[in-house]
Amino acid sequence: MIELFNVTKQYKNGTSALSNINVQISKGDFVFLVGPSGAGKSTFIKLLLKEIEPTEGRITIDDIDTTNLSKRKIPMLRRKIGFVFQDFRLLQNKTVFENVAFAMEIIEASPKEIRRQVPTILSMVALSDKANMYPEQLSGGEQQRVSIARAIVNNPAVLIADEPTGNLDPETAWEIMKLIKQINRRGTTVVMATHAKEIVDMMQQRVIALEGGRIVRDDKKGVYGYED
């Protein structure tokens, strides 16, 4: 599903963010990406989204070699990927329904498809009754659920989450994790960067630990392994 071959990323200012990374993530995998700040997690995620280019090596996603993908095809790649941010990134002037529908409008889905798909997804994230509310009227956990709904509404093959629980209290964080796990069970590959030790330890999923731009650990059923 996702493969990185000898990937190295060196930024223009000379900092080496990733060196010689090799990772294979199969379809349906659930992977935690852990490591101290500056270990290369963000770079890893940015590479997957093709926000930045690797200095060396090759990345394939869903059998597409993204390294040689032209700029024009980046949107097509991103439509295969759902992305969840730490800060939710909802549009404040749109309702919950509209925020989710927005993702479908962008890929030019028909109003009929939108009317069918959005309520389905909202019920999945248990927000059907808040469809007409605005983000500021919702709690943090609810906002993150909206953003997850938006990420999966177009049925992406991969869900990438960057610290999705970083702004939430532990209880709410668990709700979100349950939801993400549920999405994973439906067959969506999940890659999640996180600092949440408890969550990683409890979930017992594959853990890839980065340090200084190198993979220092890749365990099938890993733990967080840092004391921060």
Binding site: P75, L77, R89, L91, F102, I106, N154
Partner: protein
């Protein structure tokens, strides 16, 4: 890049929304673009009129006269005619005999023409008049004509022509520079306005890009916004210029004819030309301005 009709209508709605959201900026920039285009229109009006004046003037000076020596026989005269006919840059050649030249002169002198009746010998030479394709060929034609034997004198309006060419060239160049600067200014104004809308919607654009919107999907609403700004500005400018020009025209074109024997370019002709230029320019400036203002926001 086939776009669905629904998407097109979405883009247009978004474009108008952007304009309405920053209505103060919208009016300010339409006004600024209109002012820039009005100045541009004035420059343009001046250039066009001077051009047409120059063309009229050139038409009066675009011939060369060859005065023939008096002792040539008809055969030699015909031969000269044939020779000069072959020179490049000449549109037509016609012959004026001594007798015809005298007739013309009499006509020109009008009521004093009787004075010429007393002449015993016709003092005027036979001559050829070479009509040039364009005034710019005059030097080159004169150079070649000088080699032809049997000519008394070659006469053409070198000084006037040179001056005329230089002046029109200067005015055209200055005009172009002024127009260029004004286009730049208008583009800057529009791109600044768009930048405000774009910045206000930065999050939205960012999210759009992450969800997989193409650059053009993001760009179109802003492009439409810019084009509407430019279009509105050019319509206002056109109205102002058209109205003013008509009044100026009514006021001075007759006087101008008396002074320089050329009319101003008629209002409808000028306004039609200007309409095309303004609309293309205004909308184009708007489109380019918004593309410039968006560049950095699309880099996600």
């Amino acid at each position: 890049m086939a776009m669905k009709i629904r998407t097109v209508s979405y883009m247009i709605r978004q474009g108008f929304k952007g304009l309405w959201r920053n209505r103060m900026m919208t009016f300010a920039s339409i006004g600024s673009v209109a002012s820039a285009l009005i100045i541009l229109g004035i420059v343009f009006m001046i250039i066009l009129n001077i051009n047409s004046l120059a063309e009229t003037a050139k038409g009066q000076f675009d011939s060369i006269q060859l005065y023939l020596k008096d002792d040539l026989d008809q055969k030699k005269i015909d031969e000269i005619g044939k020779t000069v006919n072959k020179i490049d840059g000449i549109e037509s050649v016609y012959y004026i005999s001594k007798a015809e030249a005298l007739q013309d002169l009499k006509k020109q002198w009008g009521e004093h023409g009787y004075l010429l009746e007393g002449l015993e010998v016709n003092p005027l030479p036979n001559s050829y008049v070479l009509k040039l394709k364009d005034i710019k060929y005059s030097e080159q034609v004169v150079d070649q004509v000088k080699n032809v034997s049997g000519l008394e004198e070659v006469k053409y309006y070198k000084d006037i022509v040179d001056k005329l060419l230089r002046i029109t060239h200067f005015i055209r160049m200055t005009g172009m520079i002024v127009i260029g600067i004004l286009i730049g200014i208008s583009m800057f104004i529009i791109s600044n306005t768009i930048k405000i809308t774009v910045a206000a919607r930065y999050r939205e654009i960012n999210i759009m890009k992450y969800v997989g919107a193409t650059n053009w999907f993001v760009r179109w609403p802003f492009l439409i916004e810019g084009m509407i700004l430019g279009f509105a500005g050019s319509v206002i400018a056109l109205a102002v210029i058209g109205y003013s020009y008509k009044n100026i025209f009514d006021l001075i074109t007759e006087k101008m004819y008396v002074m320089v024997s050329a009319y101003m370019i008629p209002t409808p002709l000028l306004v039609n030309n200007l309409a095309v230029i303004f609309l293309v320019l205004g909308t184009g400036i708007g489109a380019l301005g918004s593309i410039f203002s968006m560049r950095k926001f699309l880099k996600v």
